[in-house]
Symmetry: C2
Subunit: 260 residues, 2 copies
Protein backbone atom coordinates (compact mmCIF):
# COMPACT_ATOMS: atom_id res chain seq x y z
CA UNK A 1 0.00 0.00 0.00
CA UNK A 2 1.11 3.54 -0.69
CA UNK A 3 2.33 5.45 2.31
CA UNK A 4 0.44 8.46 3.63
CA UNK A 5 1.48 11.12 6.12
CA UNK A 6 -1.26 12.64 8.28
CA UNK A 7 0.27 15.66 9.99
CA UNK A 8 -1.30 17.84 12.64
CA UNK A 9 0.20 21.25 13.28
CA UNK A 10 -0.55 22.89 16.61
CA UNK A 11 -1.85 26.32 17.47
CA UNK A 12 1.42 27.71 18.81
CA UNK A 13 3.03 27.24 15.40
CA UNK A 14 0.02 28.83 13.66
CA UNK A 15 0.44 31.90 15.89
CA UNK A 16 4.09 32.40 14.86
CA UNK A 17 4.35 33.41 11.17
CA UNK A 18 8.08 32.58 10.96
CA UNK A 19 7.66 29.16 12.56
CA UNK A 20 4.64 28.46 10.33
CA UNK A 21 6.53 29.39 7.15
CA UNK A 22 9.44 27.18 8.24
CA UNK A 23 7.06 24.29 8.86
CA UNK A 24 5.22 24.73 5.55
CA UNK A 25 8.52 24.79 3.67
CA UNK A 26 9.53 21.52 5.35
CA UNK A 27 6.05 20.09 4.68
CA UNK A 28 6.31 21.01 0.99
CA UNK A 29 9.55 19.00 0.76
CA UNK A 30 8.01 15.78 2.12
CA UNK A 31 7.57 13.03 -0.45
CA UNK A 32 4.34 11.24 -1.30
CA UNK A 33 0.76 11.75 -0.20
CA UNK A 34 0.15 14.10 2.70
CA UNK A 35 -2.79 15.47 4.67
CA UNK A 36 -2.43 18.49 6.94
CA UNK A 37 -4.75 19.25 9.87
CA UNK A 38 -4.25 22.57 11.59
CA UNK A 39 -5.29 23.79 15.01
CA UNK A 40 -6.57 27.24 15.68
CA UNK A 41 -4.18 29.21 17.80
CA UNK A 42 -4.94 32.31 19.78
CA UNK A 43 -6.24 34.43 16.88
CA UNK A 44 -9.81 33.23 17.41
CA UNK A 45 -9.77 34.26 21.07
CA UNK A 46 -8.24 37.64 20.17
CA UNK A 47 -10.82 38.31 17.46
CA UNK A 48 -13.69 37.16 19.71
CA UNK A 49 -12.47 39.63 22.34
CA UNK A 50 -12.36 42.50 19.84
CA UNK A 51 -15.87 41.60 18.67
CA UNK A 52 -17.06 41.65 22.28
CA UNK A 53 -17.78 37.91 22.33
CA UNK A 54 -17.11 36.41 25.70
CA UNK A 55 -15.02 33.24 25.95
CA UNK A 56 -17.03 30.93 28.22
CA UNK A 57 -15.26 28.23 30.15
CA UNK A 58 -16.78 25.48 32.30
CA UNK A 59 -14.39 23.34 34.37
CA UNK A 60 -11.48 24.69 32.33
CA UNK A 61 -13.05 23.74 29.00
CA UNK A 62 -14.17 26.17 26.34
CA UNK A 63 -17.87 26.34 25.51
CA UNK A 64 -18.69 27.03 21.84
CA UNK A 65 -21.88 29.07 21.68
CA UNK A 66 -23.19 30.27 18.29
CA UNK A 67 -21.26 33.60 18.27
CA UNK A 68 -18.05 31.74 19.17
CA UNK A 69 -18.73 29.12 16.48
CA UNK A 70 -19.02 31.95 13.93
CA UNK A 71 -15.64 33.29 15.05
CA UNK A 72 -14.06 29.83 14.87
CA UNK A 73 -15.56 29.29 11.40
CA UNK A 74 -14.17 32.64 10.23
CA UNK A 75 -10.75 32.27 11.75
CA UNK A 76 -10.00 28.54 11.41
CA UNK A 77 -12.08 27.80 8.30
CA UNK A 78 -11.33 31.11 6.60
CA UNK A 79 -8.26 33.07 7.64
CA UNK A 80 -5.89 30.36 8.89
CA UNK A 81 -6.95 27.69 6.40
CA UNK A 82 -6.80 29.88 3.29
CA UNK A 83 -3.52 31.52 4.29
CA UNK A 84 -1.95 28.07 4.66
CA UNK A 85 -3.40 26.95 1.31
CA UNK A 86 -2.08 30.05 -0.51
CA UNK A 87 1.37 29.66 1.09
CA UNK A 88 1.48 25.98 0.10
CA UNK A 89 0.49 26.88 -3.49
CA UNK A 90 3.50 29.23 -3.59
CA UNK A 91 5.60 26.26 -2.45
CA UNK A 92 4.17 24.24 -5.37
CA UNK A 93 1.95 22.03 -3.24
CA UNK A 94 -1.53 21.84 -4.80
CA UNK A 95 -3.36 22.29 -1.50
CA UNK A 96 -7.11 22.26 -1.02
CA UNK A 97 -8.57 23.72 2.17
CA UNK A 98 -11.42 21.78 3.72
CA UNK A 99 -13.68 21.63 6.71
CA UNK A 100 -15.49 18.37 7.39
CA UNK A 101 -18.53 19.81 5.56
CA UNK A 102 -16.62 20.19 2.28
CA UNK A 103 -17.18 17.10 0.16
CA UNK A 104 -18.89 15.63 3.27
CA UNK A 105 -15.46 14.46 4.37
CA UNK A 106 -15.93 14.47 8.17
CA UNK A 107 -19.44 14.12 9.57
CA UNK A 108 -20.01 14.68 13.28
CA UNK A 109 -22.86 14.96 15.73
CA UNK A 110 -23.37 17.69 18.26
CA UNK A 111 -22.01 16.51 21.59
CA UNK A 112 -24.92 15.37 23.77
CA UNK A 113 -25.49 17.44 26.91
CA UNK A 114 -24.64 15.51 30.05
CA UNK A 115 -23.21 17.49 32.96
CA UNK A 116 -21.90 20.25 30.70
CA UNK A 117 -23.40 21.73 27.53
CA UNK A 118 -20.37 22.29 25.32
CA UNK A 119 -22.53 24.00 22.72
CA UNK A 120 -21.67 23.71 19.03
CA UNK A 121 -19.02 21.03 19.47
CA UNK A 122 -18.82 18.00 17.20
CA UNK A 123 -17.94 14.41 18.03
CA UNK A 124 -16.80 12.71 14.82
CA UNK A 125 -19.18 10.07 13.47
CA UNK A 126 -17.77 9.23 10.05
CA UNK A 127 -14.80 10.06 7.84
CA UNK A 128 -15.33 9.65 4.09
CA UNK A 129 -11.92 8.17 3.33
CA UNK A 130 -13.01 7.43 -0.25
CA UNK A 131 -13.54 11.13 -0.90
CA UNK A 132 -10.20 12.02 0.69
CA UNK A 133 -8.47 9.25 -1.26
CA UNK A 134 -9.95 10.70 -4.44
CA UNK A 135 -8.35 14.10 -3.68
CA UNK A 136 -5.01 12.40 -3.03
CA UNK A 137 -5.20 10.46 -6.30
CA UNK A 138 -5.52 13.82 -8.08
CA UNK A 139 -2.35 14.95 -6.30
CA UNK A 140 -4.30 17.42 -4.22
CA UNK A 141 -3.09 17.93 -0.65
CA UNK A 142 -6.05 18.26 1.76
CA UNK A 143 -5.60 20.91 4.47
CA UNK A 144 -8.25 20.48 7.16
CA UNK A 145 -9.52 23.14 9.54
CA UNK A 146 -10.85 21.65 12.80
CA UNK A 147 -14.51 22.13 11.91
CA UNK A 148 -17.05 19.44 11.11
CA UNK A 149 -20.77 19.44 10.32
CA UNK A 150 -23.87 17.44 11.10
CA UNK A 151 -26.74 16.18 8.98
CA UNK A 152 -28.96 19.17 9.76
CA UNK A 153 -26.49 21.63 8.25
CA UNK A 154 -24.80 22.94 11.38
CA UNK A 155 -21.07 23.53 11.55
CA UNK A 156 -19.38 22.16 14.68
CA UNK A 157 -16.14 23.05 16.43
CA UNK A 158 -13.95 19.95 16.67
CA UNK A 159 -10.69 19.17 18.40
CA UNK A 160 -7.87 19.15 15.82
CA UNK A 161 -5.97 16.28 17.52
CA UNK A 162 -9.08 14.12 17.43
CA UNK A 163 -9.76 15.06 13.81
CA UNK A 164 -6.20 14.10 12.82
CA UNK A 165 -6.50 10.78 14.61
CA UNK A 166 -9.94 10.01 13.10
CA UNK A 167 -8.75 10.81 9.57
CA UNK A 168 -5.54 8.77 10.02
CA UNK A 169 -7.52 5.75 11.28
CA UNK A 170 -10.00 5.89 8.43
CA UNK A 171 -7.28 6.15 5.78
CA UNK A 172 -5.67 2.81 6.82
CA UNK A 173 -7.99 0.99 4.40
CA UNK A 174 -6.21 2.79 1.54
CA UNK A 175 -2.73 3.51 2.86
CA UNK A 176 0.08 2.71 5.25
CA UNK A 177 -0.45 5.69 7.52
CA UNK A 178 2.02 7.64 9.66
CA UNK A 179 0.38 10.13 12.03
CA UNK A 180 2.56 13.01 13.20
CA UNK A 181 1.64 15.58 15.82
CA UNK A 182 3.85 18.65 15.35
CA UNK A 183 4.05 21.28 18.05
CA UNK A 184 6.46 23.67 19.76
CA UNK A 185 8.16 21.05 21.98
CA UNK A 186 10.66 18.39 20.95
CA UNK A 187 8.33 15.56 21.95
CA UNK A 188 6.75 14.17 25.10
CA UNK A 189 8.97 15.46 27.90
CA UNK A 190 9.93 13.74 31.16
CA UNK A 191 10.50 17.16 32.68
CA UNK A 192 8.34 19.97 31.21
CA UNK A 193 10.99 22.52 32.21
CA UNK A 194 13.73 20.66 30.31
CA UNK A 195 13.20 20.80 26.53
CA UNK A 196 15.73 18.04 25.99
CA UNK A 197 14.14 15.47 28.30
CA UNK A 198 12.34 13.83 25.37
CA UNK A 199 10.88 10.35 25.87
CA UNK A 200 12.07 8.53 22.70
CA UNK A 201 9.68 5.60 22.76
CA UNK A 202 6.36 5.22 24.48
CA UNK A 203 4.39 1.98 24.88
CA UNK A 204 0.96 1.72 26.55
CA UNK A 205 2.65 0.25 29.65
CA UNK A 206 5.22 3.06 29.86
CA UNK A 207 2.43 5.59 29.24
CA UNK A 208 0.46 4.23 32.21
CA UNK A 209 3.57 4.30 34.38
CA UNK A 210 4.38 7.91 33.44
CA UNK A 211 0.79 8.94 34.12
CA UNK A 212 0.78 7.24 37.54
CA UNK A 213 4.07 8.94 38.41
CA UNK A 214 2.57 12.31 37.35
CA UNK A 215 5.33 12.74 34.74
CA UNK A 216 2.96 13.02 31.78
CA UNK A 217 0.84 16.08 32.39
CA UNK A 218 -2.81 16.94 31.87
CA UNK A 219 -2.62 18.62 28.47
CA UNK A 220 -0.65 15.75 26.96
CA UNK A 221 -3.12 13.03 28.00
CA UNK A 222 -5.92 13.59 25.42
CA UNK A 223 -3.27 13.86 22.66
CA UNK A 224 -1.65 10.58 23.72
CA UNK A 225 -5.00 8.84 24.17
CA UNK A 226 -5.87 9.84 20.59
CA UNK A 227 -2.48 8.65 19.41
CA UNK A 228 -2.60 5.22 21.05
CA UNK A 229 -6.16 4.80 19.86
CA UNK A 230 -4.96 5.43 16.29
CA UNK A 231 -2.24 2.78 16.65
CA UNK A 232 -4.75 0.23 17.97
CA UNK A 233 -6.92 0.92 14.94
CA UNK A 234 -4.23 0.22 12.38
CA UNK A 235 -2.13 3.38 11.99
CA UNK A 236 1.44 2.17 11.42
CA UNK A 237 3.35 4.84 13.26
CA UNK A 238 2.59 7.79 15.54
CA UNK A 239 5.22 10.47 16.17
CA UNK A 240 5.01 13.53 18.41
CA UNK A 241 7.72 16.03 17.54
CA UNK A 242 8.76 19.66 17.10
CA UNK A 243 7.38 21.32 13.96
CA UNK A 244 10.96 22.02 12.84
CA UNK A 245 11.77 18.30 12.93
CA UNK A 246 8.97 17.01 10.71
CA UNK A 247 11.29 16.04 7.84
CA UNK A 248 13.71 14.23 10.17
CA UNK A 249 10.80 12.53 11.89
CA UNK A 250 9.57 11.07 8.60
CA UNK A 251 13.01 9.93 7.41
CA UNK A 252 14.73 8.63 10.51
CA UNK A 253 12.51 9.38 13.48
CA UNK A 254 12.56 12.30 15.89
CA UNK A 255 10.70 13.29 19.03
CA UNK A 256 8.59 10.63 20.68
CA UNK A 257 7.55 7.52 18.76
CA UNK A 258 4.54 5.61 20.06
CA UNK A 259 4.34 1.85 19.70
CA UNK A 260 2.02 -0.90 20.86
Amino acid sequence: MASLLVIKIGGNIIDDPTALQRFLTAFSGLKGARILIHGGGKIATQIAEKLGIETKMVDGRRITDQPMLDVVTMVYGGLVNKQIVAKLQALEVNAIGLTGADGSTVLARKRPVKDIDYGMVGDIEEVDSGQIQFFLRQELTPVFAPITYNTVGELLNTNADTMASAIAVDMVTHNEVTLIYCFEKKGVLKDPSDDNSVIDKLTPALYEAYKTAGIISKGMIPKLDNAFNALKKGVSRVIICHADEVATAVDQGAGTTLML
Copy 2:
Protein backbone atom coordinates in the same frame (compact mmCIF):
# COMPACT_ATOMS: atom_id res chain seq x y z
CA MET B 1 -21.83 18.34 -24.29
CA ALA B 2 -23.28 18.13 -20.81
CA SER B 3 -24.99 21.27 -19.57
CA LEU B 4 -23.59 23.25 -16.68
CA LEU B 5 -25.16 26.00 -14.60
CA VAL B 6 -22.81 28.67 -13.23
CA ILE B 7 -24.83 30.67 -10.72
CA LYS B 8 -23.78 33.80 -8.87
CA ILE B 9 -25.71 34.80 -5.79
CA GLY B 10 -25.47 38.42 -4.68
CA GLY B 11 -24.66 40.00 -1.35
CA ASN B 12 -28.18 41.14 -0.53
CA ILE B 13 -29.39 37.54 -0.55
CA ILE B 14 -26.44 36.43 1.59
CA ASP B 15 -27.41 39.07 4.17
CA ASP B 16 -30.97 37.75 4.50
CA PRO B 17 -30.99 34.25 6.11
CA THR B 18 -34.57 33.49 4.98
CA ALA B 19 -33.92 34.55 1.37
CA LEU B 20 -30.65 32.59 1.37
CA GLN B 21 -32.31 29.42 2.66
CA ARG B 22 -35.04 29.78 0.02
CA PHE B 23 -32.42 30.20 -2.70
CA LEU B 24 -30.33 27.24 -1.51
CA THR B 25 -33.43 25.03 -1.45
CA ALA B 26 -34.21 26.02 -5.04
CA PHE B 27 -30.54 25.53 -5.99
CA SER B 28 -30.56 22.04 -4.47
CA GLY B 29 -33.49 21.12 -6.73
CA LEU B 30 -31.74 22.10 -9.98
CA LYS B 31 -30.75 19.18 -12.15
CA GLY B 32 -27.29 18.44 -13.48
CA ALA B 33 -23.91 19.99 -12.82
CA ARG B 34 -23.85 23.30 -10.96
CA ILE B 35 -21.28 25.77 -9.69
CA LEU B 36 -22.20 28.45 -7.15
CA ILE B 37 -20.27 31.71 -6.69
CA HIS B 38 -21.30 33.88 -3.78
CA GLY B 39 -20.74 37.54 -3.08
CA GLY B 40 -19.92 38.91 0.30
CA GLY B 41 -22.70 41.03 1.64
CA LYS B 42 -22.51 43.55 4.40
CA ILE B 43 -21.19 41.22 7.10
CA ALA B 44 -17.57 41.95 6.17
CA THR B 45 -18.08 45.70 6.54
CA GLN B 46 -19.88 45.19 9.86
CA ILE B 47 -17.15 42.94 11.23
CA ALA B 48 -14.41 45.27 9.99
CA GLU B 49 -16.12 48.12 11.84
CA LYS B 50 -16.33 46.13 15.07
CA LEU B 51 -12.65 45.23 14.72
CA GLY B 52 -11.81 48.90 14.28
CA ILE B 53 -10.67 48.42 10.68
CA GLU B 54 -11.47 51.41 8.56
CA THR B 55 -13.20 50.92 5.21
CA LYS B 56 -11.14 52.97 2.75
CA MET B 57 -12.78 54.27 -0.39
CA VAL B 58 -11.14 56.09 -3.30
CA ASP B 59 -13.44 57.51 -6.00
CA GLY B 60 -16.28 55.43 -4.59
CA ARG B 61 -14.36 52.18 -4.80
CA ARG B 62 -13.27 50.08 -1.88
CA ILE B 63 -9.56 49.68 -1.20
CA THR B 64 -8.49 46.29 0.17
CA ASP B 65 -5.55 46.82 2.51
CA GLN B 66 -4.09 43.85 4.40
CA PRO B 67 -6.37 44.13 7.47
CA MET B 68 -9.42 44.37 5.19
CA LEU B 69 -8.20 41.38 3.15
CA ASP B 70 -7.98 39.37 6.39
CA VAL B 71 -11.59 40.31 7.19
CA VAL B 72 -12.74 39.40 3.67
CA THR B 73 -10.86 36.08 3.89
CA MET B 74 -12.49 35.32 7.24
CA VAL B 75 -15.99 36.36 6.29
CA TYR B 76 -16.28 35.32 2.63
CA GLY B 77 -13.83 32.40 2.64
CA GLY B 78 -14.80 31.19 6.13
CA LEU B 79 -18.14 32.18 7.57
CA VAL B 80 -20.30 32.69 4.47
CA ASN B 81 -18.72 29.94 2.39
CA LYS B 82 -18.81 27.23 5.05
CA GLN B 83 -22.34 28.09 6.19
CA ILE B 84 -23.54 27.73 2.58
CA VAL B 85 -21.66 24.43 2.21
CA ALA B 86 -23.15 23.00 5.43
CA LYS B 87 -26.67 24.11 4.45
CA LEU B 88 -26.26 22.52 1.00
CA GLN B 89 -25.04 19.28 2.60
CA ALA B 90 -28.26 19.22 4.65
CA LEU B 91 -30.12 19.61 1.32
CA GLU B 92 -28.19 16.59 0.00
CA VAL B 93 -25.95 18.56 -2.33
CA ASN B 94 -22.35 17.39 -1.92
CA ALA B 95 -20.90 20.91 -1.87
CA ILE B 96 -17.23 21.80 -1.63
CA GLY B 97 -16.25 25.31 -0.62
CA LEU B 98 -13.37 26.84 -2.52
CA THR B 99 -11.40 30.00 -2.97
CA GLY B 100 -9.32 30.34 -6.12
CA ALA B 101 -6.31 29.15 -4.10
CA ASP B 102 -7.91 25.77 -3.34
CA GLY B 103 -6.81 23.26 -5.93
CA SER B 104 -5.23 26.24 -7.74
CA THR B 105 -8.62 26.74 -9.42
CA VAL B 106 -8.51 30.52 -10.02
CA LEU B 107 -5.13 32.23 -10.29
CA ALA B 108 -4.98 36.03 -10.33
CA ARG B 109 -2.45 38.79 -10.20
CA LYS B 110 -2.48 41.77 -7.92
CA ARG B 111 -4.01 44.69 -9.80
CA PRO B 112 -1.21 46.97 -11.00
CA VAL B 113 -1.16 50.45 -9.45
CA LYS B 114 -2.08 53.12 -11.99
CA ASP B 115 -4.01 56.11 -10.66
CA ILE B 116 -5.39 54.21 -7.70
CA ASP B 117 -3.77 51.52 -5.54
CA TYR B 118 -6.64 49.11 -4.90
CA GLY B 119 -4.43 47.08 -2.59
CA MET B 120 -4.91 43.33 -2.31
CA VAL B 121 -7.27 43.02 -5.28
CA GLY B 122 -6.90 40.28 -7.86
CA ASP B 123 -7.46 40.39 -11.62
CA ILE B 124 -8.09 36.86 -12.83
CA GLU B 125 -5.31 35.36 -14.94
CA GLU B 126 -6.28 31.73 -15.31
CA VAL B 127 -9.10 29.35 -14.39
CA ASP B 128 -8.17 25.68 -14.10
CA SER B 129 -11.30 24.30 -15.73
CA GLY B 130 -9.82 20.80 -15.74
CA GLN B 131 -9.63 20.83 -11.96
CA ILE B 132 -13.19 22.15 -11.67
CA GLN B 133 -14.40 19.57 -14.21
CA PHE B 134 -12.79 16.89 -12.10
CA PHE B 135 -14.83 18.00 -9.05
CA LEU B 136 -18.00 17.97 -11.15
CA ARG B 137 -17.29 14.47 -12.46
CA GLN B 138 -17.18 13.31 -8.83
CA GLU B 139 -20.61 14.89 -8.33
CA LEU B 140 -19.17 17.55 -6.08
CA THR B 141 -20.75 21.00 -6.33
CA PRO B 142 -18.11 23.74 -6.13
CA VAL B 143 -19.09 26.78 -4.05
CA PHE B 144 -16.68 29.64 -4.69
CA ALA B 145 -15.95 32.55 -2.37
CA PRO B 146 -14.79 35.66 -4.29
CA ILE B 147 -11.15 35.28 -3.31
CA THR B 148 -8.24 34.34 -5.56
CA TYR B 149 -4.50 33.99 -5.06
CA ASN B 150 -1.27 34.76 -6.87
CA THR B 151 1.92 32.82 -7.47
CA VAL B 152 3.70 34.32 -4.46
CA GLY B 153 1.13 32.95 -2.02
CA GLU B 154 -1.01 36.04 -1.45
CA LEU B 155 -4.78 35.90 -1.25
CA LEU B 156 -6.59 38.55 -3.29
CA ASN B 157 -10.07 40.06 -3.03
CA THR B 158 -11.90 39.52 -6.33
CA ASN B 159 -15.22 40.72 -7.68
CA ALA B 160 -17.75 37.87 -7.53
CA ASP B 161 -19.46 38.84 -10.82
CA THR B 162 -16.12 38.76 -12.62
CA MET B 163 -15.22 35.45 -11.01
CA ALA B 164 -18.54 33.90 -12.11
CA SER B 165 -18.02 35.16 -15.65
CA ALA B 166 -14.40 33.94 -15.82
CA ILE B 167 -15.33 30.48 -14.54
CA ALA B 168 -18.31 30.22 -16.93
CA VAL B 169 -16.13 31.18 -19.90
CA ASP B 170 -13.42 28.71 -19.04
CA MET B 171 -15.90 25.85 -18.59
CA VAL B 172 -17.20 26.13 -22.19
CA THR B 173 -14.48 23.72 -23.35
CA HIS B 174 -16.17 21.01 -21.26
CA ASN B 175 -19.83 22.04 -21.12
CA GLU B 176 -22.74 23.92 -22.57
CA VAL B 177 -22.77 26.71 -19.99
CA THR B 178 -25.63 28.84 -18.69
CA LEU B 179 -24.51 31.74 -16.50
CA ILE B 180 -27.11 33.11 -14.08
CA TYR B 181 -26.73 36.21 -11.93
CA CYS B 182 -29.24 35.99 -9.05
CA PHE B 183 -29.96 39.03 -6.95
CA GLU B 184 -32.79 40.81 -5.12
CA LYS B 185 -34.38 42.38 -8.24
CA LYS B 186 -36.46 40.65 -10.89
CA GLY B 187 -33.94 41.44 -13.64
CA VAL B 188 -32.49 44.49 -15.37
CA LEU B 189 -35.10 47.20 -14.78
CA LYS B 190 -36.17 50.00 -17.11
CA ASP B 191 -37.28 51.97 -14.08
CA PRO B 192 -35.30 51.21 -10.88
CA SER B 193 -38.29 52.31 -8.79
CA ASP B 194 -40.61 49.83 -10.54
CA ASP B 195 -39.77 46.24 -9.71
CA ASN B 196 -41.91 44.98 -12.57
CA SER B 197 -40.26 47.00 -15.35
CA VAL B 198 -38.02 44.07 -16.29
CA ILE B 199 -36.23 44.17 -19.65
CA ASP B 200 -36.90 40.65 -21.00
CA LYS B 201 -34.21 40.50 -23.65
CA LEU B 202 -31.04 42.49 -23.99
CA THR B 203 -28.76 42.58 -27.05
CA PRO B 204 -25.49 44.54 -27.27
CA ALA B 205 -27.29 47.19 -29.40
CA LEU B 206 -30.16 47.53 -26.91
CA TYR B 207 -27.64 47.64 -24.07
CA GLU B 208 -25.81 50.56 -25.72
CA ALA B 209 -29.10 52.36 -26.31
CA TYR B 210 -30.22 51.92 -22.68
CA LYS B 211 -26.84 53.13 -21.46
CA THR B 212 -26.95 56.20 -23.69
CA ALA B 213 -30.47 56.97 -22.47
CA GLY B 214 -29.28 56.66 -18.87
CA ILE B 215 -31.81 53.88 -18.26
CA ILE B 216 -29.24 51.27 -17.26
CA SER B 217 -27.52 52.59 -14.18
CA LYS B 218 -23.96 52.60 -12.88
CA GLY B 219 -24.06 49.52 -10.66
CA MET B 220 -25.50 47.36 -13.42
CA ILE B 221 -22.86 48.24 -16.02
CA PRO B 222 -19.93 46.11 -14.77
CA LYS B 223 -22.32 43.16 -14.29
CA LEU B 224 -23.64 43.49 -17.86
CA ASP B 225 -20.18 44.03 -19.31
CA ASN B 226 -19.11 40.78 -17.64
CA ALA B 227 -22.22 39.06 -18.93
CA PHE B 228 -21.87 40.13 -22.58
CA ASN B 229 -18.19 39.29 -22.43
CA ALA B 230 -19.10 35.75 -21.33
CA LEU B 231 -21.52 35.37 -24.25
CA LYS B 232 -18.87 36.54 -26.71
CA LYS B 233 -16.52 33.93 -25.32
CA GLY B 234 -18.86 31.00 -25.83
CA VAL B 235 -21.26 30.89 -22.88
CA SER B 236 -24.61 29.73 -24.32
CA ARG B 237 -26.97 31.77 -22.18
CA VAL B 238 -26.78 34.55 -19.60
CA ILE B 239 -29.74 35.33 -17.33
CA ILE B 240 -30.09 38.04 -14.70
CA CYS B 241 -32.97 37.29 -12.34
CA HIS B 242 -34.36 37.31 -8.83
CA ALA B 243 -32.87 34.66 -6.52
CA ASP B 244 -36.39 33.28 -5.99
CA GLU B 245 -36.78 32.67 -9.71
CA VAL B 246 -33.67 30.61 -10.34
CA ALA B 247 -35.58 27.36 -11.00
CA THR B 248 -37.99 29.09 -13.42
CA ALA B 249 -35.08 30.84 -15.12
CA VAL B 250 -33.38 27.52 -15.86
CA ASP B 251 -36.54 25.77 -17.07
CA GLN B 252 -38.39 28.39 -19.07
CA GLY B 253 -36.57 31.68 -18.65
CA ALA B 254 -37.16 34.51 -16.18
CA GLY B 255 -35.75 37.96 -15.57
CA THR B 256 -33.50 39.39 -18.26
CA THR B 257 -31.94 37.12 -20.89
CA LEU B 258 -28.88 38.42 -22.71
CA MET B 259 -28.22 37.47 -26.31
CA LEU B 260 -25.72 38.41 -29.00
